[in-house]
Symmetry: C2
Subunit: 145 residues, 2 copies
Amino acid sequence: MAAKFFPTAQDAENAFYEAIETADLEAMMAVWAEDEEIVCVHPGGPRLAGAEQVRESWRAIFAGGPGMRIRPVRRVAITGMMVAVHSVHEAITVPGEPRPQPPVVATNVYVRTASGWRMIVHHASPAPGAPQPDPVAPSGPKILH
Amino acid sequence: MAAKFFPTAQDAENAFYEAIETADLEAMMAVWAEDEEIVCVHPGGPRLAGAEQVRESWRAIFAGGPGMRIRPVRRVAITGMMVAVHSVHEAITVPGEPRPQPPVVATNVYVRTASGWRMIVHHASPAPGAPQPDPVAPSGPKILH
């Protein structure tokens, strides 16, 4: 497979969310920077650092195959010459489940490399404000800061 | 008060955590960039965008006065000429509470401005792996991606 080249951070972001929807591990890892320290935090999960941990996490997530629909919305973008930071809400739906999934807020950081724009950080966490799937579930962690 | 000047992103980060410990709103806001879109996500909270929302959130958090001890540990830093991204675990203790607080993972993004390095993004979220303060609490949100 030819290496992907993303001319803009937005192109890399589009490929990132498409890789999630298609559960395509190689397409996912093609979005990430190769020569940098990379960091990934899945919602409610631990911090993963380095290509090996990040790849293994996506492999596990994609093991069930595609099925999720995920759209980044309400984007706030801070774009520099070499680094771009995107804050998005991820609107997630799962076919066959009538209720929307709880919203997720994500910080995505991209760097411009010799191979185009690549992701170096994906930090996603549950956001409040959606219907709770479990009415007895607590409303969320205490806000400490 | 003379404007603060942070020669490095690390200086800005040190000031950020010191402002939390001292519950000093002006010191906190002096860390943030003034001319940029800024984004702040507190653990379990919504995304806040813009100086007004960010300031109001810290005002509310600091209303109870100082008392929390917070130390950024296990830092992974990605440092460029104009932008620095720090991933840290925040080790939080509250005097008088014997059990440590649940860990928090944070992504902090800084930009170099004419006024030194300033924060543009703070995204903090609960991380798994600590003693649960409530034994009947669920282990955390389902990992969707």
